[in-house]
Point group: C2
Chain length 229, copies 2
Amino acid sequence: MGVLVVCSGGLDSVVLAHQVGKDRDLDRLLSFDYGQRHKKELDFAALAAADLGVRHDIIDISNVAQFLTGSALTDDVAVPDGHYAETSMQATIVPNRNAIMLSVAYGVAAGAGAREVAIAVHGGDHFIYPDCRPGFIDAFRRMENQALEGSWEIDLYAPYVDKSKADIVRTGAALGVKFERSWSCYKGGATHCGRCGTCVERAEAFHLAGVADPTDYEDADFWRSAGSP
Amino acid sequence: MGVLVVCSGGLDSVVLAHQVGKDRDLDRLLSFDYGQRHKKELDFAALAAADLGVRHDIIDISNVAQFLTGSALTDDVAVPDGHYAETSMQATIVPNRNAIMLSVAYGVAAGAGAREVAIAVHGGDHFIYPDCRPGFIDAFRRMENQALEGSWEIDLYAPYVDKSKADIVRTGAALGVKFERSWSCYKGGATHCGRCGTCVERAEAFHLAGVADPTDYEDADFWRSAGSP
């Protein structure tokens, strides 16, 4: 009955949506509004769903997120500039975010009769996000096998968990993904800022992949001086 | 830094709240509004928090629950009468409910600096609810160890997972819990109906425990004819 893709509208999950759309039975895209400071990337998730001709649901979990304090993504804390892997980026951790989003996605998949939930976690996030590591993905899959035993069989598809963001850019290029139809910047400006952690990571990934970067950055060269992890 | 107790206002979780209040460092009670057809039990969770002198938060996840279809607890499906363990009660399954609630509870615990999340799942629920079984509890604990690795250490406390509801009644009686300050009935009437699955299970548990049942049931004897699982 198909695959439900957790899609934020960022580069990784937009490429994943296109990959599933080509190789598997894509059912729908699912986004989360957790009260992030800007919702611009959700428009890009909607764009990906339209491009792929599938349903797009946005689940508002901001009622939940207001209890999860201490993160620059949702709180009134300044977004740090610099490389994603630096300690300063730990300010962008939302406690238990992937477990919450995946648990909800599994519930939605069960209700929709979908057989697989797909998420675009990747190796570049391993440094500071434990809930992006292979150990978490495996443990989550086993937990859901127990939770849904006898009622639903839903698998977790995380094809990028051992790959780099540069690998994802290469995959997207091979699929013909229009990368400008994805949004990475933590700030919600007219163009990508080029200075925040995800902008630096994005620009660097295109460079490492040897793929031309179509992104319009306000500060296009900042990433070169931000340094590798 | 304390224990966060997931408390619906039902008999099991109210007894658990009192047990944690006596034996451990109770931090707060956490309830979920998932769009259940009546919210009466949430008032009893608030009552328990007041009795224990701790904070009580209600997290509204009805935005999530509207995507989780097919359950009599939230949908417009008739609540079946009869014993809890009967097949008809499968209509009351909310897909992935405990994984969703526990994931959110862990996120709240992380934000609050709590060290433990407590939940009152028990052996009587094992027949039809896979997410109440020991295998689920163990797998969930391991999943969260991975998800929060290096940032937070939070344990899962489920002391009733191998006990019966009658055991919980005995525990509550020993603690002096005022059972009438808890609510089990799936219907939201002035008194417990006595006929729905949780009313039958409640009345039977007092009988099996040999504890006087202070509950005011509309149909006080129905449970005797509903039969054991």
